[in-house]
Amino acid sequence: MFCPARPAHDEQMFKRPYYIALAIVVLLILLVLNLPGRTTARLKTSLGSVFLPLFGMAGSTQQVAARAGDNLLPKSELIKANEALRRQNEQLRLQVAQTSHLAGENERFRQLLGWQKQSRWNVKLARVILRDPANWWRTVQIDLGSRNGLSNNLPVLSPDGFLIGRVSSVSLTKSQVVLIGDPNCKVPALVENEARNQGIISGGGPLDSSFVNLTKLASNANVKPGQRVVTSQLSAIYPPGILIGLIADNARPVESVPISEADVKLAANLSSLEEVWVLFP
């Protein structure tokens, strides 16, 4: 791998100005690293705009591929799929009529009992355009930004309605969503068992994105595999009752502290997200 010859011109490669330039660059980077968060976010947004043409190209390529796929589908299959969707639509309409009746009833009971009125959440569909290129973060970028009304800390759900994370930063045209399992996404959770044990969903493993850790459970928590874990009403960010996942094993005590923890298998598949719902209050 090494050869003994050392040409004279290569010795001249690093002259004094280059060392000075190197030192200046290092100092500038250290300065950037210590900038306030808001300034860094703006700088990131400006730098990220370099990728806009590539996002556009990737999006149009996907559209072309999807159209080509649609054109290849035989008419009989399309008619069959249309029929199935029509039936599903009728069923869903019936369910909506029933639930709106129940919601009205619930609202009247709340008024009678003098409970606080629950605000309804609106949803917006967003497309996942990018995943964090670094392996040590679990975030995605979506194609909705502040111009679509997004702001920080809005809950994000999978297409099936399972919790996947929250909006962590917003630019004009896109937003970053920090997913469950990332150390920066902690979710107050409730186990749907008799004791209604409360805990906090914290980070998961770096390799398997389908399991996360439910920690800060009571030391005597009777948590068993298969029990549902949903968002707790103690959270200021997430509306209560959204399914996070199922308990994967029995609760185990944590050394030196009087709490226990358990693994949770997430209901949403985080590794194949293409579209997500953003909840608006």
């Binding site: 791998m1 090494f2 050869c3 003994p4 010859a5 050392r6 040409p7 290569d10 010795e11 490669m13 690093f14 280059y18 330039a21 190197l22 660059v25 290092v26 980077i29 250290l30 950037v32 690293l33 900038l35 860094t40 700088l43 990131k44 947004t45 730098l47 990220g48 370099v50 990728f51 590539l54 990737a58 355009i129 990018l130 995943r131 964090d132 290129p133 670094a134 392996n135 040590w136 973060w137 679990r138 975030t139 970028q141 962590s168 970053q176 920090v178 399992g181 990332d182 150390p183 920066n184 980070g203 998961g204 493993g205 770096p206 390799l207 398997d208 590794s271 194949s272």
Partner: protein, 183 residues
């Protein structure tokens, strides 16, 4: 400073960062996304001057961080160090040999994430780490090692295709022709 090869390197850096974020195939298959920037830095450090090395480290590092949750600028420092060390000793390296390119790419790709993680921990960030991170580190190192000779091959071909072709001089010279026969 030769402009075209350097523009090609920067353009490749931009595409590499975008592809690492946009395409999930390797991550879904192996559990880790391969970082190709250290491999590209090996190529740039061994074939270009210090100005290009500095430009690539700053440009690609900032681009990478702009798409990531990483603090802005954190990816620049490892790339800068890799480029600097390689350029200091580049006259001693057999840069044309594939095994040397692979080894350098492997070492650079192993060094870069370790340095980034250490810097993140120094800045009191909490990246997602565990025993499985070792597997990710191995995948990143080998992936970078494999990518380095490919970068060398690709840029050699591109430079050959887009650069000026060397003029092949004939050994024939009319003024030194020996004419035989009677005049």
């Amino acid at each position: 400073m030769i402009i075209l090869p350097n523009i090609l390197i920067l353009l490749t850096a931009l595409l590499v960062v975008f592809f690492q974020g946009a395409f999930e195939g390797i991550r879904n298959l192996l559990g880790a996304q391969v970082d190709l920037l250290p491999a590209l830095m090996v190529y740039a450090a061994l074939t270009s001057g210090p100005v290009m090395m500095l430009t690539l480290a700053v440009f690609s590092g900032l681009m990478f961080d702009s798409l990531s949750v990483n603090p802005l600028g954190i990816s620049v420092l490892p790339l800068l160090l890799i480029g600097f060390l390689l350029q200091l000793r580049r006259d001693l390296l057999l840069r044309d040999q594939i095994y040397a390119q692979f080894t350098l790419g492997l070492i650079a790709s192993a060094l870069a994430p370790v340095m980034t993680i250490l810097t993140l921990l120094t800045l009191e960030q909490s990246p997602l780490l565990g025993w499985a991170s070792l597997w990710q580190w191995i995948v990143m190192s080998i992936g970078g090692g494999v990518a380095t000779p490919i970068f060398f091959l690709m840029f050699d071909r591109l430079n050959h295709a887009l650069g000026y072709q060397p003029v092949i001089e004939s050994s024939f010279r009319a003024d030194r022709e020996i004419r035989r026969g009677r005049n």
